[in-house]
Amino acid sequence: MSDAIREVIDREYEFGFEGTFESEVAPKGLSEEIVRFISARKQEPDWLLEWRLAAYRHFLTLEEPTWPNLEIPPIDYQDMHYWAAPKPKGPAPKSLDEVDPEVRAMFDKLGIPLSEQERLSGVAVDAIVDSVSVATTFKARLAEAGVIFCSFSEAVREHPDLVRPHLGSVVGPRDNFFAALNAAVFSDGSFCYVPAGVTCPMELSTYFRMNAADTGQFERTLIVAEEGATVSYLEGCTAPMRDENQLHAAVVELIARTDARIKYSTVQNWYPGDADGNGGIFNFVTKRGRCEGARSKISWTQVETGSAITWKYPSVVLQGDDSVGEFYSVAVTNAHQQADTGTKMIHIGRNTSSTIVSKGISAGRSQNAYRGLVKVLRGAHGARNHTQCDSLLIGDRCGAHTFPYLEVKNPTAQVEHEATTSRVGEDQLFYCRQRGIDEEEATAMIVNGFCRDVFDQLPMEFAVEAQALMRVSLEGSVG
């Protein structure tokens, strides 16, 4: 192995520092009291507390899923905090300028300056640290267009009529083990509402940061696009390096009415653990969108590079006639990371179509699985799906797995599945090196080429970031 490669293997996770502000945390453990504590801390209405408690009681009857192709160490749900927040240094900030300078400093260091005037990219950001939203930028400009973009807590307070009918309507509190846990203890998240006929004037994004130790993060995101509305939403995440694992169990619900379009992009870079597989985030996330109206479209694009373990299947329920669901995914695993990720496309309406493009890249001793369901119901006349599922192996100690499920009840459906597995070959590397391109650069180029179909789907500024991230994630994977 060359020195250059050795050097980058030893390089640390770039975002692994800890913010210096003080945190306030709830006592460890999960109980009805904790659920009540969280709800009270957020001054929630009774209906929401009851909703949480019902979810919690149901959660107690559930077992962790055992079907994923993952080796999950036992998680002690009583040995973590379910609430942590940067300690307020006085009354809640009324504007961005009043946000705790140390919290701002952390976001500056992450490359997410919160001051609106510093934002050249024209992306509105909701910044979430541990359990709470600390700032949302560009609210005023969005409000002019009629777009509501705020923290989930604020939405519950200010727009209960918009939250209540939609909350849990796509991912119900009984959906699965982690979704039930989230429903019981979810802390904050982002809420976005785009009224009929409005095209959101800028990209919206939420930046999630886990900072406090021994703390789970359970955010919830809800996006509603009314008839003819269009919105593009980005999400990014990082966490400090810690020796113990931390749990992240989020829920995302998307609702697209007639002719509405929602594009949801994720660049997930939670701390993946060290080279020996110690520490890292357990990323157990339920994401689902409902194409409720005719001709609506929901598109998921994800670039998953972080987390020790990823369990995640962004899905689309294609209810409206002629609705379209898309899933573009790049999942990279290196060192001892494990990923079991994919999608579900549920065709209900007539002439619904879905596209799945999954690119899995495995390096080191990692395991990477694609798991996807295409379900065509009896009434889904003329449904179409195309699935392209490609795996790329780097080295010979990693694994790539594909688990496609097809359930087709309508004979007019057209469902196609293509899968390939390839290896970053000695031949490719030698070819690049003969052209003067070193091994590290060549690997990054080959992998980025492999992912191109997916990166092309990302908003421009994110595509650049994703390519850079990919390079960092794979550093040390060759040799």
Binding site: Q434, R435, G436, I446, F450
Partner: protein
């Protein structure tokens, strides 16, 4: 410019080259011919730095101990190999690849990156000379190319990278007569007093179009004979002749 001394190469104890000597001066075009399995492609791979060989002997190139350099450093020093079987790199555009390559070599030589406009201009004109479709520059490297397109792409890369030593490994194989003419013209255009060529081929027909200064016959792991361009013609007419008795290594 290139001086190979007593080069012996084996893979897993199996000797392929046994004491090969060869010297090429600037501006010279040397052809290496020889029967299948003579070690022609091994020679080109060893010069370019492919791993997996046990190597003895020395190779000096433009003041470098070539065998001590990584493949990318050899490229930076001016060694170019036109591959017999160019590799496909899906999703990576030809122009992007070439520019990355060119800039990597320039950087290694302390030169600034090439500016986009002059890069594209020169790419376009070389592509025209090689009768390549403009869409070619945005297609992925060699992906889905025909055999002839791949070979043309190698010549295009050579033209753009302007190496001082170009090794062409059976660049003529698999080409129809028109493609051969285009490729040969591409090579001829690059002939210059500073640039040396090592042309490895099975067939004399390329050597009718690219006139070599010296022709070598590689056989039994070493250069069996050398001669002028007329040697290629003799080989065409008479074949390589009976196989000589193999000599012991190092004798």
């Amino acid at each position: 410019m290139l001086e190979i001394r007593d080069l012996s190469v084996s893979i897993d104890g199996h000797a392929i080259l046994t004491g090969l000597n060869l010297a090429i001066g600037p501006g010279e075009v040397h052809a290496i011919m020889g029967p299948n399995g003579a070690g022609k492609s091994t020679l080109s791979a060893v010069l370019a730095g492919r791993e997996g060989y046990d190597i003895e002997g020395s190779v000096r190139f433009a003041g470098h101990d070539l065998l001590a350099l990584e493949p990318e450093a050899r490229a930076a020093a001016g060694v170019f190999l036109a591959f017999q079987y160019p590799t496909e790199i899906p999703g990576v555009g030809n122009a992007y690849f070439l520019r990355t390559s060119l800039n990597a070599i320039r950087e290694a030589n302390g030169e600034p990156p090439v500016d986009a406009r002059s890069f594209l201009g020169s790419l376009r004109s070389h592509m025209e000379e090689l009768e390549m479709d403009p869409s070619f520059s945005s297609r992925a490297v060699n992906a889905g190319f025909s055999g002839g397109e791949k070979k043309r792409n190698e010549i295009l890369q050579m033209a753009m990278l302007e190496p001082t030593l170009a090794i062409l490994d059976e660049t003529d194989s698999g080409l129809d007569i028109d493609a051969l003419r285009i490729v040969a013209a591409g090579i001829e255009r690059l002939r210059s007093p500073e640039r040396a060529f090592l042309v490895i081929t099975h067939y004399p027909r390329l050597l009718d179009l690219v006139r070599p200064d010296v022709v070598h016959v590689l056989r039994g792991g070493r250069i069996e004979r050398s001669g002028g361009a007329e040697l290629a013609q003799q080989l065409e007419e008479h074949g390589y002749g009976p196989r000589p008795e193999r000599q012991a290594v190092g004798s």
